[in-house]
């Protein structure tokens, strides 16, 4: 780290910090650049719509009851996916983390399947579960299973041996060991797994919706796409990103960890 930056920072104690100042400057510069591009006529019309039209589209979007319905549909699908996939992941992770042999036998498969693109399984999901919500839930479930399972397994192996020995010397039963030693000690990896799993479930569900659906946020985005309604598309992406980043930070905050940096 450059030390000069730190020195300067302690020397001045202005009303707003230099960081906030830089941030404001960057945001303003970007917005000005955007507005300039929108009016320059260099790009195809509407590819970069003016900020005013985006703001208008955002207001329109947020005052539509329909949009909240679609948001609810997608949120429900993600919730189900996280419940099923996360639950299965937790179970598999606990088993693999607790048993060396099983971990060596099966974890490589999970490890290498984990980062493969999941959306390509959509044709299979549709074949098995139909074109309605269940196929979206299935894809989300499949996407979020891997990070949760791998994180829980790794977390289980990283538990401090001392804690386990303390439990044993208190003659804790298996249930007590799980509730009082294992789960509290694994809180961070579990929360981190759920946070990653949420992101993957979100992507799985949304992409499945954009490919084939008649409701949900992905469907609405594709509608805006097919009518070339660019301001609406930007507005929807903004809402989506704010919600996703917010949820991600919230899950991290619940776990009490500085999570964002760790990903």
């Amino acid at each position: 780290m450059a030390e000069t930056g730190r020195l300067r920072q302690t020397a001045t104690a202005p009303l707003i910090g230099p960081v906030a100042l830089v941030r404001t400057a960057i945001v303003l510069a970007l917005l000005a650049l955007w507005e300039f591009l929108a009016h320059s006529g260099w790009l195809y019309r509407d590819v970069v719509p003016s900020l005013l039209s985006i703001a208008r589209a955002l207001a329109r979007l947020l005052s539509q009851p329909d949009y909240y319905y679609n948001l609810g549909v997608t949120a429900g699908e993600i919730g189900m996916a996280l419940l099923i996939g996360g639950g299965a992941g937790l179970l598999v992770g606990l088993v693999l983390g607790g048993n060396r042999f099983l971990s060596k036998a099966f974890e490589p498969y999970l490890y290498y399947l984990g980062p493969t693109p999941k959306i390509i399984f959509l044709p299979i999901a549709i074949m098995w579960f139909g074109v309605e919500a269940p196929s979206k839930i299935a894809l989300g479930t499949f996407s979020c299973f891997f990070p949760v399972a791998l994180n829980v397994a790794a977390g289980m192996r990283q538990i401090d041996r001392v804690l386990i020995r303390v439990g044993q010397s208190f003659r804790a039963s298996t249930l007590q060991m799980v509730v009082k030693i294992y789960l509290p000690a694994m809180r961070h990896p579990i929360i981190n797994g759920v946070r990653l799993g949420f992101g993957f479930a979100l992507i799985g569900v949304l992409l499945a919706e954009t490919r084939l659906s008649n409701k949900g946020v992905g469907f609405v985005i594709m509608q805006a796409d097919s009518t070339f309604d660019m301001p609406s598309m930007y507005a929807m992406l903004i809402v989506l990103f704010v919600l996703a980043i917010g949820a991600n930070a919230l899950i991290g905050r619940l776990g009490g960890i500085d999570t964002i940096k760790r990903s």
Binding site: G5, V19, V47, Y112, P117, I120, P123, I203, A224, K261
Partner: protein, 258 residues
Amino acid sequence: MSQAASRTSIAASAPRATGLMTLLVALLLTELLIQAGLINRFIVPPPSEVAKAFYRIVAQEHVFRRFLSTAAECFAAGVMLTLAGVSAGLLMQRFTLLQRAVETWVASIAAAPLVIMYPLFLVIFGRNALTIIMMGFISGLPPAILKTIEGISATRKVLINVGRSFNLTATQQFWKILFPAALPTIFVGVRLGLVFALINVVGTEFLISYGGLGALIADLAERYDLAGTYAAICFVILVSVLFFLALEKIERWLRPVD
């Protein structure tokens, strides 16, 4: 000694054999259940048919050309994200104020579902390889930036002091001390970026039905070629896994022995 060595190698390979056996037994069981009519073969094709379809898609669907186009898109995205990500990371690392202002933004963007921007990119760049490359590029950018910052910041104090005691100029200090020391961590970032790029390149190909391997799956599914679809999915998984393995090999080779 050789006996003991062979015994330990057998003991070491027992779990791996178990995993493989489980996989084979599961495939065999699926085959039997389908042949017995307990699983609908129009939903799950028998593994033997999928294996046969492998040959068919290789022979008829230009798999090699598709593989090359996916690989080329990944390569282009990889070069772009390495250049842009590493230089952005270096820039932020150089100007502390900039880093403190922007680093959390980059981290937040990394957590956002960037791939959902593909309809937007479709409008901006058109339905062509550029859209696919750009999707791969932006999704791999955040890890490359973050790991570059992390790598330079974590340079050992001793190394920096060595540079100081040799009276190196700032440029020399950077090229001879900081950058080489950070290289392994930077490569971790580039590797993660490439993994994300591959996922998004294949995913976008599938979603917009254009280009290489991802589009092949979409094509076959649309033709209701069930065995072919399953075979193509297996093929893509295989290619991705080989890709990850190769990246890990390179990373291990780059990592200094300590």
